[in-house]
């Protein structure tokens, strides 16, 4: 039997949900542990050093100076780096901070926060960077597994193929692929929010006039939200088409599909998504995939929606 591969895990600015995602492998975790030795897992072990490893799994995004230092130390210590979860791949939910300056964030949390008594932002902690950034803005990344957190089936497939040097079976499918709702053409005349009345659990949210981002989101989750009655909020990051084609964007793609399925004009959907950009682009705002689309005006949209607050 060959020597076990060494796996090291480090977290940057994130929520540690991805570490929990790994535990979601349940019994399958034993199959993975047959092939790997965990040498550094901050949530489980007391190893503080960046020990040498074959595979380094990084969760969380680059938000503080410490994150830069940690990412570079991991790159030096590991042969392959996996960007694990939506945070390192696209920036994650705190990407929404893109709509604010660093000073606004610190001000709102420490100085003008009605529920705390502090008056100063804490000193003697790693300096906050100007913006939230994906991992590959700092170091080279070998494997990207988006998802918030990635579904257990995808983690298992991704890790095993990396360890064995085979091609993963993960495909470029969108969330709709694993959703059980039927897309039917309807007479729905206007947009609805998910709390406006009741929704048929068998029918697609788009057909019922509710914005669901499943068709513009990469499936790394097996579509659990729609099965629980919640429209997709794109936590897995943009679909292949949006990543690769500069003229395609979340708002244009959802609008096209909704206009085809319902009586809602495409412009109304585009306008709604622009006005609620903070909600609909929340998880990947930090990613150059969106920012560098020449037509993309996120900062302007979010400012207008908030009335310049």
């Amino acid at each position: 039997m060959t020597a076990k591969k060494k796996v090291s895990i480090e977290w940057l600015s994130g929520c540690s949900g991805c570490e929990l995602g790994i535990v979601d492998l349940h019994e399958k975790l034993l199959a993975v542990l047959d092939e790997v030795e965990l040498v550094r897992v901050p949530i489980l072990m007391d190893t503080k050093d960046y020990v040498k490893a074959d595979v380094g799994i990084i969760t969380g995004s680059i938000r503080t100076e410490h994150d830069i230092h940690a990412a570079q130390a991991m790159r030096k210590a590991c042969d392959a780096i996996v960007a694990f979860g939506t945070c390192p791949v696209y920036g994650g939910p705190h990407s929404s901070a893109y709509a604010h300056t660093k000073e606004e964030l610190l001000d709102g949390a420490f100085r003008r926060n009605p529920s705390t008594k502090t008056s100063e932002a804490p000193q003697d902690v790693p300096r906050l960077l100007d913006g939230n950034r994906p991992l590959d803005s700092e170091i080279a990344v070998d494997v990207y597994i988006p998802g918030c957190p990635p579904g257990a089936a995808y983690i298992f497939d991704g890790l095993l193929s990396l360890l064995r040097g085979t091609d993963p079976r993960i495909g470029p499918r969108n969330v709709c692929f694993n959703c059980d709702r039927k897309m039917v053409k309807s007479q729905q005349p206007a947009l609805r929010r998910s709390f406006d009345g009741s929704f048929d659990p068998e029918i697609c949210f788009l057909s019922q006039g509710c914005i669901c981002l499943g068709s513009v989101t990469l499936d790394r989750c097996l579509a659990p939200c729609m099965k629980a009655g919640v429209p997709c909020f794109a936590c897995g990051g943009p679909s292949e088409a949006i990543c690769l084609e500069p003229q395609k964007d979340v708002r244009s793609e959802v609008a096209l599909r909704m206009a085809q399925l319902t009586k809602i004009p495409a412009e109304a959907v585009v306008r709604e998504i622009e006005q609620q950009a903070k909600t609909h682009f929340a998880y990947a705002m930090a990613s150059p995939v969106f920012r560098q689309k020449p037509t993309f005006l996120l900062k302007k949209w979010t400012r207008t929606a908030e009335g310049g607050r």
């Binding site: 692929f177 694993n178 959703c179 709702r181 679909s239 599909r257």
Partner: protein, 238 residues
Amino acid sequence: MPAVRIIDRGCRGCELCVDFCPVKVFERTSDERAAVKRQEDCIGCLSCVYLCPSRCIEVEGVPVLRPFHRIEEHAALIERFLQEKSGTSTLTPADWEEARKDLAARLLALSATVVETIGRGSKAMGRRAGALAATHLPEMYEEAGLDRVLASMKHRFRGAFEFDYSLSGERADLHFHPCGLCQVVEEAGEKVGEAVLCQLFHEYWAGLLTAFVGSQYRCEVPVAGRECRMELKPASAS
């Protein structure tokens, strides 16, 4: 020929592929899904691949070129040129010069890559590019004479370079003064006429005319420099 396949598990029955396919490859089935009915008609436009909400349609056998929008400097440059409401009036001569240099660097890098990758086959690639470009020009389908074709090419290329032409029978003589690539090649320190970029361009013209006329054309360039003379002759003539 493109091969079209629907992965049934992912079909949500939206019929976007049925509605949008320009050549009606898809049909709706009795169980409210889409099925591939006329694969032989597929023109490989990939509309269905991008429209399908599940991304469960696969089209194989179609070469796809990817844009470079993730290259940061490039995207930043485009952003400045597409500034909202500003038009191009706020751009300074320095901006245009930067854009020109950017394009020149890309052309040189592309031609170097072509030679490095396919070596001596690069001439054939230039011809193929011309033949493919011809299929995108309306003149190709009008059965217009060579005179008409060259006149409209002169108009189409007016932003990049000026040329005059004269016809004698099947043969066309083109006179560039200078060609738009001249400055690019000179700045790279290469010899005009012998640079890969020049040769690809010459073969491109041969490919264009071959496609328009329907018989093989050759390209010769006896004079190259600030002015270039290009002779386009039917291959059978010599």
